[in-house]
């Protein structure tokens, strides 16, 4: 009898230990995926901030943003043999921004006075042209981009999904976001962009060259797309269609965060990154859909987005 009691007590403890271990494994999985989601979200933020900048000042919904990302990636691929990864990281976004200025001057500028639908259609078409253009120039075959070896490995055995490269990416995002916010907060250009976002007519009436302002603002936005492209090429396959898949989450980030608010975009990007990371644990097939569900819920409860100001999209 006694023996039997002891055995069952033992097996009970065993079951408990097993339960605790399972709970631990679950907590760890969740923790991993939240962290992982933040990393992915950071990337969306970089993309979305550029989009958001352009949308806020010029009311242009830039569907070609994914295209500029691809251009950034391919330029980096092309110049890496000459300048190395670090040189490409600096030069490729600048060249992409230069292309952005040309596009803004020639194609987008004539449409500023019109309904935002015109520029949306234009950039939508431009996205296809860029995709086919990159395919024409670099070929449909994906290109390998090699990153420095010391970045291409995990920092620890346990947290294997935090590689040197992903940490570097997050640092780049933090640095870019800080610089961007400092630029907007403390420089004359930044103040003008912010003022223009609120009331472009008055800014123009005060004698500020609005055309120049829009060009520079567009260039900063496209620079961020180019930078995203170089960073993405380091951990994804570089091919002409890669921009499309990365563009939609960035739009969702803006809408969730609230159109017109850069901090909102920042928050929105991180939020959808985490949401999709955590969903992938429980229901992988919904890991993409969850972003749109999140967007729908936010729009239903708070149509202006979490941090958005009322009436920004009119």
């Amino acid at each position: 009898m006694t023996g039997g009691v002891v055995t069952s007590a033992r097996s009970l403890t065993g079951a408990r230990i097993f339960e605790v271990q399972r709970a631990d494994a679950m907590t760890q999985l969740l923790l991993f995926n939240v962290t992982n989601g933040l990393i992915i979200g950071a990337f969306y933020v970089l993309m979305a901030l550029g989009l958001s900048l352009i949308l806020n000042l010029s009311n242009v919904i830039n569907f070609a943003h994914g295209g500029f990302l691809v251009i950034g990636g391919y330029i980096a691929y092309t110049i890496t043999p000459y300048l190395g990864f670090w040189g490409a990281l600096l030069v490729a976004p600048l060249l992409t921004a230069a292309i952005g200025i040309v596009v803004e001057r020639i194609l987008i500028r004539p449409l500023y006075g019109r309904d935002p639908l015109y520029s949306l259609l234009l950039t939508f078409g431009l996205a296809f042209i860029i995709e086919d253009g990159t395919r024409f120039i670099w070929g449909a075959q994906g290109k390998p981009v090699t990153i420095p070896a010391f970045l291409a490995q995990p920092l620890s055995y346990e947290f294997f999904f935090i590689t040197g490269y992903r940490l570097f990416m997050v640092l780049m995002v933090v640095a870019s976001v800080s610089l961007l916010f400092a630029l907007l907060r403390y420089t004359r250009l930044g103040m003008r962009i912010r003022a223009g976002t609120l009331d472009l007519e008055t800014v123009s009436a005060l004698g500020i060259n609005v055309g120049m302002l829009r060009s520079l603002n567009f260039a900063v936005g496209v620079f961020l797309a180019g930078l995203s492209g170089v960073l993405a090429a380091g951990q994804l396959g570089l091919e002409p269609t890669m921009g499309t898949g990365l563009l939609m989450p960035s739009f969702v980030a803006i809408i969730v965060g609230g159109v017109g608010s850069l901090p909102g975009t920042l928050f929105g990007g991180l939020l959808i990154g985490v949401a999709s990371g955590v969903t992938a644990v429980f229901l992988p097939s919904a890991s993409e859909a969850i972003m749109y569900v999140l967007m729908a819920v936010v729009l239903l409860i708070r149509p202006r987005g979490l941090f958005g100001e009322e009436g920004m999209m009119t």
């Binding site: 999985l29 939508f124 078409g125 042209i129 994906g142 390998p144 994804l236 990365l246 992988p284």
Partner: protein, 411 residues
């Protein structure tokens, strides 16, 4: 917005360049038209374009030797844009407006199946060049449809034993969440069960997933012996690239079934790892006519070697030409009957084993090239795969009775 118009213009220019030489060569004879529908844009663009390159070489070779029944062949290429609706519409257009005699396509299994509905309705002989899902020569098989590339079951059968014996018995899958992935995963899991192994998990990743980290976190937590990767194209590239950066390949064996040269070329050297099967490979010892084929393709592509896809396109065109010249007709019904048990000659098969269409399900019995990816080609930078064995198609394929195919011939 005007993408299709743009593409059509582009395709027309391309077709005109290719078409002109042999129209001149065989003056006076009306050409026999072959329509080809493949996703020239979208995520499968690279593999689709290689199929077209192979098909064009076949057309030029055939025309240089007098064409088909004394008439030149003409290849009309249309872009399915990796979209089922577009693929179907282009197939209809080729048959109804351009009056093509035969149809080739598509890389995408879903589009290939939808196209087969159209070609069966129009009674046009159709060769599926590169869509792998079992149904095409299985439960959805049709009298007018033949397939060049492997079925997913053939792919699974070619490597399962090797992976089990060499890497271990606990397998974890990353599977693309659509028809191709599902049938491939089921076939692998069935083989594993027969061998006495266990599936530790199956991560269904949506097609077009760029970040695989969440799936990889789950897969590593399950601690399998082998991580089996079933995605294709850019999904495969992204997945392998992340696996290597995470160092997972140093803890768990990484392998899979179908691998393609296009994917390995898109990867940095350190990520070219694992045991796989290729459906055709450009480097083989002592295979007759192979060297000429490789040289001719390299001449046309600026030095790029042919891939399995190039060979698919090449063999698809030859299927029509060889049968038509032998039977002295271009009638789809007669040719469909003649192609049952049709054996490919050395100039076309370009591999050691016997290659033939199986009468019962119209599946080409073509070999699996089983081996390992290699980071750098020893003698040629494009030699990224080491072939260890070439397994004949009739040993990897289940018997016709197990495919679920019953051919219904028109009365």
């Amino acid at each position: 917005m005007n993408r299709r118009t743009l593409l059509k213009a582009g395709a027309a220019v391309g077709a005109a360049q290719i078409a002109s030489p042999f129209v001149i060569a065989a003056r006076g004879e009306t050409p026999i038209k072959i329509g080809m529908v493949d996703p020239l844009t979208g995520v499968y663009a690279a593999v689709a374009q290689n199929e077209v390159v192979g098909a064009r070489l076949a057309v030029d070779n055939i025309n240089a030797k007098g064409g088909v029944l004394g008439r030149p062949l003409e290849l009309l290429v249309e872009d399915s844009a990796n979209d089922v609706g577009t693929g179907v519409q282009k197939t209809r257009k080729l048959i109804e407006r351009d009056q093509v005699s035969f149809i080739i396509g598509d890389v995408n299994s879903g589009i290939a199946q939808a196209m087969a509905q159209v070609t069966a309705e129009k009674k046009v002989l159709h060769v599926v060049s590169g869509g792998h899902t079992d149904g095409i020569t299985g439960k959805d098989c049709k009298w007018n449809v033949y397939r060049v590339c492997n079925t997913t079951r053939m792919e699974a059968n070619s490597v399962s034993d090797l992976l089990f014996n060499k890497y271990g018995k606990r397998w974890h899958f990353i599977t693309p969440d659509y028809a191709f992935g599902h049938t491939l995963q089921e076939a692998c899991a069935a083989n594993l069960k027969k061998l006495g192994g266990t599936v530790t998990g199956n991560e269904l990743a949506p097609l077009g997933t760029s970040d695989f980290s969440a799936y990889l976190i789950k897969a590593r937590a399950a601690n399998p012996d082998v991580l089996i990767l079933l995605p294709q194209g850019s999904d495969m590239v992204n997945c392998l690239k992340q696996i290597v950066q995470f160092g997972i390949n140093r803890q768990i064996h990484v392998a899979g079934t179908q691998q393609e040269l296009e994917s390995l070329e898109a990867l940095p050297p350190e990520a070219r790892i694992g045991i796989w099967m290729f459906e055709w490979y450009w480097k083989q010892a002592n295979t007759p006519h192979l060297a000429e084929f490789v040289a001719e393709i390299r001449k046309r592509t600026g030095g790029k070697v042919p891939t399995a896809r190039t060979w698919f396109g090449y063999t698809s065109v030859y299927t029509f030409a060889l049968a038509a010249n032998r039977e002295k007709t271009i009638d789809s019904f007669k040719l469909a009957q003649a192609l049952g048990d049709f054996e490919m000659p050395d100039e076309v098969k370009l591999q050691p084993n016997k290659v033939y269409y199986r009468k019962g399900d119209h599946q080409l019995m073509t070999s699996a090239f089983v081996g390992e990816a290699q980071p750098k080609g020893a003698s040629d930078p494009q030699d990224l795969f080491r072939v260890d064995s070439i397994v004949a198609g009739d040993t990897t394929s289940p018997p016709v009775s197990e495919t679920g195919c019953t051919l219904q011939w028109p009365a």
